[in-house]
């Protein structure tokens, strides 16, 4: 009896893992907010990933990305924009402002130092 239950539980768990991690889950895009003058700013919380994962910036408007890392994991302690040579340490529970060049339109991916977590900045 115990073995039957074990098998059932295992199947349910595996099914859950497949659904939770591999099934497509909706990701919201967040547009940057205009701040005083002609600038834009968007806040990204770093906690088990980047939320929001995709931010949208307006082309040509100077932008600041504000990262706040809540997660203690060393996986997330750096943020790397490989297109821009940005590799910044994110101190835990502090806001880290990173200036972002919006002169070119396009999609720019970023990742944590170990390239395990990914986020995206869309300039249009």
């Amino acid at each position: 009896m115990g073995k039957v239950i074990t098998v059932i539980v295992a199947i349910v768990l595996i099914g859950f893992i497949l659904w939770w991690f591999f099934d497509k889950h909706e990701q919201v895009e967040v547009k940057a907010k205009k701040t005083g003058g002609n600038e834009q700013e968007v806040k990204i919380t770093v906690d088990g990933g980047y939320s929001p994962e995709t931010v949208v910036l307006q082309k040509g408007v100077p932008a600041t990305l504000v990262f706040e890392r809540k997660d203690p994991s060393s996986c997330l302690e750096r943020v790397v924009f490989s297109d821009f040579g940005i590799n910044e340490l994110l101190p835990q529970n502090e806001e880290k402002k990173i200036k972002f060049d919006t002169s070119k339109a396009g999609e720019f991916g970023y990742a944590c130092g170990m390239n395990m977590f990914h986020g995206k900045v869309v300039v249009k």
């Binding site: 073995k3 074990t6 098998v7 295992a10 768990l13 595996i14 893992i17 497949l18 939770w20 991690f21 591999f22 889950h25 906690d47 088990g48 990933g49 939320s51 994962e53 809540k70 997660d71 203690p72 994991s73 060393s74 996986c75 997330l76 790397v80 924009f81 490989s82 821009f84 040579g85 940005i86 590799n87 835990q92 529970n93 130092g113 170990m114 390239n115 395990m116 977590f117 990914h118």
Partner: protein, 638 residues
């Protein structure tokens, strides 16, 4: 939140009683009330040292992500909560598994963290080489001005032993300068009025004043640091594979762990505890970190090391292209050769007289060959004679009266009607054969001597090209010069194939053609070679750091020397080889480690407890970072 180091030390100290018990066990001894001691210390370890893993794991779980923390969290949580359950139902406990996994994983993180910092900081240290201030000349006073306040146009005095603060041009004095920190050139360079100096290089023996031309972020050093930082954080295409894997890796490991439990318990009939230990070992040994670290750490160390050798590699993509190279195409003038013509031979009865007459005549001329003759005269300390009745024949040469004699210097068109001895004719043919430009020097109607002029190859060109030939690369010269001249130089330095008479604008077209059958690197000095540099699979710019070179080359050589090409190719190949090696080990580690942890080799007595699985996991990511750091020590042939 506590640092890894603190968390590690806490977990280590608290796990000591468990360690003592483990050592005593074979002697049949046990700590009194072991279960209670274990419960208390392990609970503390979980709360203080392991909890951050759980927290991160939960946070990423909510985002549908799983990472290394997920694995460590599940591994430790399962062992810990099972042990509590076991303790109160009278079964054997496994607190030490939870405790030791935490200790080992944190140990790995501490070591890895310090090594990673070590790998990334090497280039930023370059900026520390900068002088902190400079002696600015203001009228007849000298004022110390901090680096950040220097402006373009400032006159800066540099004494022996001082660092040069920013980039500029010498206006007074001369000195030897050690530029090794920027160009990788170990020999000091002699600099005089009009020569460029580079910020952060070291003045050795003379005092001079220079005018600042670039300050702050515009200096060569700042640009290099910026470039290398970009390269270090760039992506190598090979990484795309690991990016994909990392998305699936951890969930698949969790599934593997569940299957391990089910197979052991349901199919093989082992006890639930034994099955659980195997399942936990699988979770703990799997190491996505090693995979994730393999490429970036090697890229970081490799590009940093290259920068210190005067080779700037733009990004990870360049590394992979270099690995596939089959041909290297060289520009001739300024790349293989010095870029300025020099007198190589003087053929005459009286060599000094011929040189003196030629130099005196050419003094007024602006022809590029004239400067070669004048430079030779200066080097030989020949005094120039006054000339009268100077006539210049466009495209032929010049005539004048020196000491009441009609003297001429010119090419073959000028000497058509003049007398030329058999002996000189023979020498002329021989020099032509060697690809040299020959000018005739004569008195009245008689040619009295020949001066051969050539843009000679750099001293190191031959050695560099030999090394490239030895590597099995096809070497090609692409030049606008006449075929004869080009072939002579090619023969001298050992280049196999020559494409001569190419207009600057056509160079890119020829590269395009070569690319149909070969993977091509183009080596040029960057000024008019920009299209060819960008067309080639790998553009190697030798511009001693001019802006255009930095822009258009995939690899930039700080030193104007072809051995740099050999060095650049070797460093790229070694770095890329290291990336592949790292990835290979990271894969193999997981491919072998997970089955061992799952108890697949229990038949041959090979099993891993969860604690040792944790140790193996920590060691695997450390070994990858260590392997990358070893790139700092690889030997180069030049």
């Amino acid at each position: 939140m506590m640092s890894y180091k603190k968390r590690f030390i806490i977990s280590l100290v608290l796990s000591l009683p468990l360690l003592v018990d483990m050592v005593m066990m074979p002697f049949g001894l046990m700590l009194p009330a072991y279960n209670w001691i274990a419960l208390v210390t392990t609970t503390l370890i979980m709360a203080l040292s392991a909890y951050p893993f759980w927290r991160s794991a939960w946070a990423s779980f909510k985002h549908h992500h799983a990472n290394m923390d997920t694995l460590v969290a599940i591994g430790t949580a399962v062992a810990y909560f099972y042990s509590i359950f076991a303790m109160f139902t009278g079964r054997p406990v496994y607190f030490e598994s939870a405790a030791f996994v935490t200790v080992f994983v944190l140990l790995g993180q501490v070591i890895e963290e310090s090594m990673r910092d070590n790998a990334s900081s090497s280039v930023e240290k370059l900026l520390d080489l900068q002088a902190k201030d400079a002696d600015v000349v203001l009228g007849d006073k000298i004022v110390k001005v901090p680096l950040a306040k220097l402006k373009v146009g400032d006159l800066i005095r540099v004494k022996p032993g001082q660092k040069i603060a920013v980039d500029g041009v010498i206006v007074k004095g001369n000195s030897s300068i050690d530029e090794s920190m920027v160009t990788g050139e170990s020999m000091p360079v002699r600099k005089e009025v009009g020569d460029d100096v580079i910020g952060s290089t070291l003045n050795l023996d003379g005092t001079f004043t220079f005018k600042a031309s670039k300050v702050g972020e515009d200096t060569l050093l700042a640009q290099i640091v910026e470039l290398v930082k970009k390269a270090q954080n760039s992506h190598a295409p090979i990484q795309k594979l690991t990016d994909k894997i990392s998305d699936y890796f951890v969930p698949l490991v969790m599934i593997a762990s569940i299957l391990t439990f089910v197979i052991w318990y349901v199919c093989l009939g082992s006890t639930p505890v034994q099955a659980l230990l195997y399942a936990v070992a699988v979770i703990v040994i799997a190491c996505p970190c090693a995979l994730g670290l393999a490429t970036p750490t090697a890229l970081m160390v490799g590009t940093g090391r290259s920068a210190r050798a005067g080779v700037l590699i733009k990004n990870g993509e360049v590394l992979e292209e270099v690995d596939r190279l089959t041909a290297v195409v060289f520009d001739k003038t300024g790349t293989i050769t010095e870029g300025k013509p020099v007198v190589t031979d003087i053929v005459a009865e009286n060599e000094k007289e011929v040189l003196q007459l030629a130099a005196s005549l050419e003094e007024a001329s602006e022809h590029p060959l004239a400067s070669a003759i004048l430079a030779k005269a200066k080097a030989e300390k020949v005094t120039l004679l006054p000339t009268a009745d100077f006539i210049s024949y466009q495209g032929k040469g010049v005539c004048a009266n020196i000491s009441n004699k009609d003297v001429f210097v010119g090419n073959k068109h000028l000497v058509k009607e003049k007398a030329l001895s058999e002996k000189l004719k023979e020498s002329y043919d021989k020099l032509q054969e060697q690809g040299k430009t020959v000018v005739f020097v004569g008195e009245a109607e008689q040619v009295i001597g020949l001066i051969a002029i050539q843009d000679a190859p750099k001293k190191t060109s031959k050695e560099a090209i030999e090394l490239l030939n030895k590597k099995g690369l096809k070497t090609v010269m692409l030049t606008g010069d006449a075929p004869k001249v080009a072939e002579a130089i090619a023969k001298e330095v050992g280049i196999k194939e020559v494409i001569a008479g190419v207009l600057p604008a056509e160079k890119a077209k020829y590269i395009e053609e070569l690319k149909e059958h070969e993977t091509v690197a183009f080596v040029g000095d960057g000024i008019n070679d920009a299209p060819a540099l960008t067309t080639a699979d790998v553009g190697i710019a030798m511009g001693s750091g001019t802006d255009i070179a930095i822009e258009s080359g995939g690899i930039v050589l700080m030193k104007n020397d072809l051995l740099g090409v050999v060095r650049a190719l070797e460093l790229s190949q070694k770095t890329f080889a290291r990336i592949k090696l790292n990835l290979f080990w990271a894969f193999i580690y997981n491919v072998i480690g997970i089955p061992i942890a799952a108890g697949l080799f229990v038949g041959v007595g090979l099993t891993l407890s969860p604690a040792f699985a944790g140790l193996a996991m920590a060691l695997s990511s450390i070994s990858v970072v260590l392997s990358s750091l070893l790139l700092n020590r690889v030997k180069l042939s030049v």
